[in-house]
């Protein structure tokens, strides 16, 4: 089963831990609903659509309201540190959370107490926390965009806001950025770098370039990175090896974008609706 840990941009959203259902374009967890526009709800919606198409159970979500003060995130860190070890999640996707080094350390200890260590996928604030904590290598996959890739490459930067200027955030330097991140042990076992082209890399360098169905507008659309992480996590939870899941998910996300005919003003729910169709097409191509 896939578990997702993240936040909802609503200070009144309570801490919940339950399976996710989709109702009329919104996600619902333990009777609490959240609209799907970006962030963890977009990840969950993409994962739910993908898992449904794969015939797998829906994602299990650990969620809390947090609009940036970090209080909700800290309550959720505490909850998962006390509960994860009793669960049997095949894949855990860690997402929008206030980066906190001490809580991240405790989270890694909790993961270590699980009977079956899950595949760990991190994006957004949780990826920042992993890098800050010097524990990136404990993760199976990070999904940075090019700005976040520059942050991972800069061993001195505690947050992307402080990435040094000489580390250019340009996609044509992505190979150098990947190498630098691995040199300083600030990368997961695999990196899926999102951009005009998507790159799957490990410590030996770039292993795959995914450039099918390029839609320039996707970079501007909030949530398209979240949907990619959601599809990778769903495929991993469905039993696919993480490197294969990353390549397939990149193809699915790009094809879903293509089917949505996006402009820079498109909202991500239009792309999420295309994920089942795109997933079918990519998996059929893989079988052929």
């Amino acid at each position: 089963m896939l578990a997702v840990v993240g936040t909802i941009p609503d200070p009144g959203f309570p801490l919940v831990a339950d399976s996710v259902t989709m109702e009329c374009g919104v996600i619902s967890v333990d009777g609490h609903r959240a609209s799907v526009n970006r962030g963890t709800p977009a990840l969950l919606a993409a994962a739910a659509r993908a898992l449904e198409a794969l015939g797998q159970p829906p994602p299990f979500a650990y969620l809390v309201g947090d609009t940036g003060r970090g209080d909700g995130s800290r309550r959720l860190y505490e909850y998962i540190c006390g509960h994860l070890e009793r669960e049997n999640h095949r894949t855990v996707a860690l997402h929008y959370m206030q980066p906190d080094v001490e809580w991240h350390r405790r989270f890694m200890l909790a993961i270590g107490r699980m009977a079956q260590p899950p595949t760990l996928v991190a994006d957004a604030g949780f990826m920042y926390a992993a890098k800050m904590s010097g524990q990136s290598q404990a993760y199976d996959l990070f999904t940075p965009d090019i700005g976040e890739m520059a942050f991972l490459a800069d061993e001195a930067a505690p947050h992307p806001f402080y990435t040094r200027g000489f580390i250019l955030h340009e996609e044509d330097r992505v190979e150098d950025l990947i190498a630098r991140a691995y040199t300083h042990q600030n990368a997961a076992q695999y990196l899926l770098v999102k951009g005009r082209q998507d790159y799957l890399a490990d410590r030996d360098g770039i292993q795959a370039v995914i450039d099918s169905h390029t839609e320039e507008a996707m970079e501007a659309i909030g949530g398209t990175g979240d949907t990619l992480t959601g599809v990778v996590a769903a495929l991993s939870a469905g039993g696919m090896k993480i490197a294969d899941a990353a390549v397939a998910a990149a193809k699915v996300n790009r094809l879903a974008g293509f089917h949505a005919h996006p402009t820079p003003g498109t909202q991500v729910d239009e792309i999420i609706r295309q994920i089942p169709r795109a997933l079918d097409e990519i998996l059929d191509d893989a079988k052929a």
Binding site: G39, Y162, G225
Partner: protein
């Protein structure tokens, strides 16, 4: 050959990761330090007053260690109290400065500005914010909800509703977007 190898300065072995999410606030004098300490403690933030590291050569002989990620909200809180720190720097690398470069992408009708990890896109014909993307702190989805669909001229500013360094980066993109759109 390892790319950028000649620039390697600190290694994972030497970095103190325990303080990687902390920053220093540097003030002109100890009176300001004490005022800021009282304000931030009453606001519920976990802070510590301590001596400055040798890299910090300005200000008085006390600094406040604070949660770096929440820098935007903390600076706004101090500003409302009339306090303006001389410097705000990461504990692990006090010489680092915020990202100062912008990446611009021209989609024709739409213009996207990126600052660090945050991207803001505006419809040039209507001067409306159509998307906010990137980032990883929990105020980013909230800022997106508050700003998308609003006119650039009257949208809430990230500094007013955000809390984190991602919000700070979005403010920089927002300021740059307003500057560019006012020229066209």
């Amino acid at each position: 050959m390892v790319p950028f190898g000649f620039l390697k300065r600190s290694t994972p072995e030497t970095t103190d990761h325990r303080t990687a999410d902390r920053g220093f606030l540097v003030f002109e004098n100890t009176t300001e330090v004490i005022q800021a300490e009282n304000i931030l403690r009453s606001g519920g933030w976990k802070i510590r007053v301590m001596g400055p590291p040798p890299e910090i050569r300005t200000g008085c002989d006390l600094v406040i260690e604070f949660p770096l990620i929440e820098g935007l909200k903390i600076l706004k809180t101090l500003e409302h109290a009339g306090l303006d720190p001389l410097q705000t720097v990461p504990v692990t690398s006090p010489l680092l400065e915020p990202v100062g470069l912008f990446q611009i992408k021209d989609f024709g009708r739409y213009l996207m500005v990126r600052a660090a990890n945050m991207k803001l896109t505006v419809d040039r014909e209507t001067l409306t914010i159509v998307n906010v993307s990137g980032g990883g702190c929990p105020d980013v989805p909230y800022l997106g909800e508050q700003m998308v669909g609003r006119p650039l001229a009257s949208a809430p500013e990230p500094r007013e509703v955000g809390h984190t360094l991602c919000g700070y980066a979005l403010q920089m993109a927002f300021d740059e977007m307003r500057r560019r759109c006012s020229q066209s």
